[in-house]
Symmetry: C2
Subunit: 464 residues, 2 copies
């Protein structure tokens, strides 16, 4: 296996220019899933991926859903276990567009401030660049050996960024086809630019949109100001009351199921040498927000939060308009950990909002998905092998970490398909995902491909 | 004078169709002052008015300012006093456009639910229809008698809806030209559809826009949520803290200079038979907001308020985006009464915001104008004559009332030109000014023209 792996790695190095060109083609497709105007582009991205998989010998197809389609591919392998790989081809919106230094869907390689080559464009890191590391690793194994070390199935979805509700039903409806021994989810990052990581702890999420209506029409604040209810005031009062002065979320039952992190784990985290001041300073901040008395790593990996992700109401254009609007809107998300129940928290939030509402106001709730947090046992053999492969590639011990982001599919793999999901990815904290000028380091891409080539080989060891 | 007035009134009745056509031409001009995209339309409206005044014998011209232009016209009269008439040709934005039943700048006459003919379109009531009542009254006097009963100067501005800062400097720079004995401001309403009114009490206003900046860029709420400051949270906390649980504004010094309304005045107001439930019910509300223990009339005419007129931040499109934005924005206005000092309140607000701000956040303030409240003495001879003329036209005693809206020019006439300003207008509470489907009753327009014809005659009585 070692000789074959060396050949595969050499092939990857020789072919990296073509691998990059293929990634560019995928990034150029404007697959913004949250905006219905881009539904055609999402389909185009799915078709591109199915074609790419078919081209390297997968039995691959685009699979319709009530929303954006799935891509499913299967390829036999030389040995077990059977691996199910997950990525998502959809991307975040690009607003505010004026802050991009170049068009977001015209990817290019630039040299960053630290000399590192960066692939810039929407989705380069989240998640097109990441999922392509795996596709290109399979391509290299196929090109060099004609087969894969282990049996591989692939599932790409197109609604990860839009809280789509079609993934679980699709899994439910295709349980037999998606059966495997373990899953890999490629939507997480390295610990830092030189330290590979497997993410074993993820936060879940509940998304809620609320619309508060007061008067039946917009009012002149001169004629009505001081007498008529202003829904922006109502909304601000509701949102401000979600957290107390110590940063804790006030919803009844919110912390049910949240366990304290063991001291041993906290000690491991301290060993990571995380620089809180640098983490905040990199984005222009200096004062930790949120719950008092906890480290930033604990807050982001192991504590739930509530964030207002959007708010709007009244006149928001240039100049001034003395209006008391009829409606005010907000998008609110809760990040969940451990055994918090997403639907219980959604109901607690809605009950809290209703209780705060004046008698003549009304509220509409729009649910935007919910998923529990995930914690992966440390002793899974595949995790041990994967850490070893990553340690070999990067020349530095692979660590296991948490992530504050929500990757619902990791929980869904467990609950629907019974699969443990190993979260392996190569993005970096400074990749500006969800923000203007998103990038993916060329090294992440190149060594990410090499990493997967090694992981596939490692998984087959001992299985034969 | 009486014979001549009867002839003028008959002429007005005969010519009302043409008067309406002329108003349509003015309403068709999209003179939205707050949006720079409509600067050309504002100039066009000014030119149209100057031409209209020139056409009836005024010495009229468009006068440039650093913003939208003024229109100034002068016409000699048969006797004193010398009257300075004010109106504004600019209008509010039309959003939300989808709630208009017809294009806002294509005026037409429709029959309302109560059978009254309504002129529908943006600016029909605020303020193009109103100012045209005076122009058409002058036109009738000129057509019938060849002159006006009193000397008239006219000042039309184009920044009333956008907090423009050019009116006072223009008055300062043209004090001699604008000298007169008293001013009329036509931007207020009747008490109800059958009861004419002179408004003698107006609220002032301070407009402020604030931009709270936390991180230097938008952040992913998974990677940063619970550790990084969310400027929407900061903004909601600031805005929610502006009022206490009794509805009072919390800013230090806010109520300095606010006198209690005398019991006698409150008794007069009770005599108006104002129906609080109907006032709120007409816009779908039932619970009075604002300060506890005060009537709605007192709240709107004689009490200051704070309203958030616009708020925005984060993702506000369709779907969901898990972002912690870098910035959050709000537009806030304070309605002022009595002797409240606009600039002192602006400073108190800014100091309050700064004091609430976390150490690593910053705030930008954008001032949107400020003006004090106005109270007019009840014994001015011109006020007595004007009330009598309005009583004659409408067949019902003219009342003196307050208005919750801000008409800064009324205060400016006093402070800059030393003129008392009588506020006379014919709009109704259901005119939907600043809202979709703004209208002006045809009766308001027709009898408004007749009212001004009578007022001009009444002012000349006793002056000869």
């Amino acid at each position: 296996m070692t000789d074959r792996l060396d050949d595969v790695l050499a092939h990857i190095d020789a072919d990296i220019g073509h691998s990059l060109e293929r990634l560019f083609r995928l990034v150029e497709i404007e697959s913004i899933s949250t905006d219905p105007a881009y539904a055609g582009a999402c389909l185009q991205a799915a078709e591109w991926l199915a074609d790419a998989l078919s081209g390297i010998g997968f039995e691959a197809s685009v699979r319709p859903t009530p929303g954006h389609p799935m891509v499913v591919g299967h390829a036999g392998g030389d040995a077990g276990p059977h691996v199910l790989f997950y990525g998502h081809y959809d991307v975040q919106p690009v607003d505010p567009l004026e802050l991009w230094n170049a068009p977001p869907f015209q990817p290019k390689v630039v040299t960053g401030p630290n000399g590192a080559k960066q692939i810039v464009g929407r989705g380069t890191s989240d998640d097109k660049g990441q999922l392509m590391t795996f596709v290109e690793a399979c391509r290299a194994w196929k090109a060099v050996t004609g087969s894969l070390p282990v049996q591989v199935s692939i599932l790409f979805e197109g609604e990860e960024e839009s809280g789509g509700h079609n993934l679980v039903p699709f899994m439910e409806a295709n349980k037999a086809e998606l059966a495997a021994d373990l899953a890999f989810v490629c939507d997480t990052g390295m610990w830092d630019a030189t330290t590979p990581a497997v993410t074993t702890m993820l936060r879940g999420m509940v998304g809620e949109e609320i619309v508060v209506t007061a008067a039946s029409r917009d009012l002149h604040s001169g004629m009505y100001g001081g007498a008529a209810r202003n829904p922006i005031h109502v909304l601000c009062n509701i949102l401000d009351g979600l957290r107390d002065e110590t940063g804790r979320v006030t919803l009844p039952g919110f912390y049910d199921g949240v366990g304290e992190v063991p001291e041993a784990t906290k000690a491991e985290w301290r060993g990571l040498g995380f620089d809180e001041a640098a983490f905040l300073g990199e984005v222009g901040l200096s004062v930790p927000a949120g719950e008092q008395g906890r480290s930033i790593i604990e807050k982001v990996w192991a504590r739930p939060t509530c964030e207002v992700n959007g708010i709007w109401g009244g006149y928001t254009g240039k100049g001034f308009k003395t209006v008391i609007p009829s409606k005010a809107h907000a998008k609110v998300s809760f990040r969940l950990v451990d055994r918090q129940d997403p639907e219980a928290i959604r109901e607690s939030f809605r009950a809290y909002v209703r209780a705060k509402l004046p008698a003549d106001c009304s509220v509409e709730f729009i649910g935007h998905g919910g998923s529990p947090g995930v914690r992966l046992p440390a002793d899974i053999p595949a995790l041990v092998k994967t850490r070893a492969a990553l340690t070999d590639e990067w020349g530095k011990p692979c660590v296991t970490i948490g992530s504050g982001g929500s990757i619902p599919v990791a929980g869904d793999f467990k609950s629907v398909l019974g699969l443990d999901a190993l979260m392996v990815g190569f993005s970096l904290d400074d990749d500006r995902i969800h923000s203007p000028n998103e990038k993916y380091n060329l090294e992440s891409y190149h060594r990410g491909i090499r990493s997967w080539a090694r992981i596939l080989a490692a998984l087959s060891e001992g299985a034969r």
